[in-house]
Amino acid sequence: MNPREKFSVGLLCMGMILALLPLSGSRSFTVKPQILLSEVLDDNTYLTVDQVAKFIVSEDSSVQIIDLRTPEEFRTVNIPGSINIPYSKLLDNDPGTILNNGKTVNIFYSNGDFNSNYALAISKGLNLKNTFVMKGGLNEWFKTVMNGNFSGERISARENALFETRTRAKKMFTVMNSLPDSLKLKFKQSKLLAAKKLDGGCE
């Protein structure tokens, strides 16, 4: 076999191997199933609306709240500080860049419990850490934070703290969502500026 024939055979083999390769343009889960199962069964991945309300009130910059609903739904009403990544678009781009892998706490929410939990399973399957869901979604948020109240004659210190957080979160939610779209961004910027001034920093 002369070198030219050898080269041809080698090229043919490589061609066959390439033909066998799966099209890698599509993303697939990288975590082993048993590991993924233990991660999705972790109760700590569920956050209550009160825990999320606390994050919002404290304006914790390490927390990223992700609204998985459609842009129309997001424009109508959303949790203050949240960003909109529709569930249908989650896998279109690289979720790792959005979820800032390992750097922030990412909290998914949708109207109910399904889309946020699908998103959580997908993110864990793609080996993206620090993802959580707000249990009950926006419906639970309205039920507990926006419309909830305490009854009874005495209120414990814990209940009082909870009530205060809910009231502040409700106020922030109402203020933010009552603003016209053009003012929402300005409002966010002014809040950031105020926070910087309080920290003693400068713009």
């Binding site: 697939s28 993924l36 199962l37 997908i122 249990k135 203020v175």
Partner: protein
């Protein structure tokens, strides 16, 4: 024989690459390729069904109950298997689900848990798998926000 001897380096390289390709394409972690396509039914919510809808399914149903206390699903006929969520990926259960000739219905009082398990099983290649729900408006916003018009 002479040909193999003369080209042993080329053959060795090709064999190594071939083995790597086989490992890559067979999915060593048991998940199928293209997560987005496999998650497709969740976009149209065609993977969630009510008991009434499930009762109209033709063929044999396999109901997987993930709750400790199973509430019988009278409307739906089929085999019921009590499998806790943490043991659902045991080989025998996965094989049962994969080989089942009919619809597989996930039943749990916790919708979030059903959603997570559904995603894992479907990414492993389980088709005809559904989440049993009590209503069809799982992802519908049920409240109305009233803006504060006095604040401007």
């Amino acid at each position: 024989m002479e040909l193999i001897k003369n080209n042993k380096i080329v053959i060795a390289v090709v064999l190594i690459v071939l083995v790597l390709v086989v490992i890559r394409s067979s999915g060593i972690n048991h998940f199928k390729n293209d997560a987005k396509r496999l998650a497709g039914p969740t976009l149209e919510q065609s993977n969630t069904i009510t008991r009434e809808q499930a009762s109209r399914f033709a063929g044999k149903n396999l109901i997987i109950n993930m709750d400790k206390d199973y509430k019988s699903v009278n409307e739906i006929t089929g085999e019921v298997q009590n499998i806790t969520a943490d043991s659902i990926l045991c080989k025998k259960y996965v094989n049962t689900i994969l080989k089942h000739n009919g619809s597989v219905l996930l039943s749990s009082s916790e919708p979030g848990l059903s959603a997570r398990i559904w995603m894992i099983l479907s990414q492993m290649g389980c088709t005809n798998i559904y989440i049993l729900t009590t209503s069809t408006d799982n992802e519908v916003f049920k409240y109305k926000f009233r803006p504060d018009t006095l604040m401007h």
